[in-house]
Symmetry: C3
Subunit: 115 residues, 3 copies
């Protein structure tokens, strides 16, 4: 089976695809002056872009892992998530708190989707 | 490839299935007055139910991620896990500490299995 | 679809394979007197061995999850990672901080790869 990569960097790729699936990196927002709501919106936009490049879309997400730098941001993250996630096509999800690589990143999300 | 969802909620689904695989959400116990042993038992029962709904069972689990609110509960979580996991068919597993969404949840487990 | 297991233990397996994919456990170093760089090297060697046993190799890794006991070890972990990861074939990756089961483990890595 062939592997296709999206946004190949020297350390990691933005997303990696098999014939049937796509695995994204843990996405964080570029603009870290935003609050958890704004950072989540930016992350979800980036995930939409990776899914599109893989020839798929958010109704095909299988699972999502969400890491919050502060679990108190759960409601703010969800405010962006709930507006974005397609009704009737919600993925499996796990959300936990974890210190992130960038001290100003508030949210990180990785997903697995079908192409 | 078709996607089937189990326990579809507005925010997430309990489990999401492809033709060949099933991805569960991060399961936590409903009764959070239980200790880590009891919460783990309840989670494993819920995972068994999701696997059953997906037409599969615990001998087909590929990988499990376990988050403990307090890593000191590792032995108590394992006491329930070890009694449950089928010998000769143990999944790959990773266990780390993470603050969970509910302050009274002590354990959260997500799995990926073959159907 | 058949499941093959590598390093089957009573609690977990070192890696679990489907026809097309391999899921490893969260690998930690055996020699925990090593610093984050040395522990990462040891983990990557162990992952290479599991991939080899599954009949595949590091150019076929789809995604990696890295947990650091102390996020300050990000650069040291990457020093080993960057020397190891095959250019043009980098996986999707997520790195977060988490307390690990062993208090002296500094790094834990789990991967998903194509066979």
């Amino acid at each position: 089976m062939q592997i296709e990569r999206i946004g190949v960097g020297q350390r990691m790729s933005k997303a990696v695809c098999t014939d049937g699936m796509v695995f994204t990196c843990g996405e964080v927002a570029t603009d870290k002056t935003k609050d958890a709501f704004g950072q989540t919106q930016e992350i979800l936009d980036a995930l939409d872009a990776s899914l599109r490049q893989a020839g798929t879309h958010k109704e095909r997400i299988l699972s999502a892992t969400v890491w919050l730098a502060d679990i108190k941001d759960f409601a703010e993250m969800n405010r962006a998530w709930d507006a974005w996630v397609p009704q009737g096509h919600t993925p499996a999800r796990a959300t936990v708190e974890a210190r992130l690589v960038s001290a100003t990143a508030k949210v990180e999300i990785a997903i697995i989707a079908l192409r």
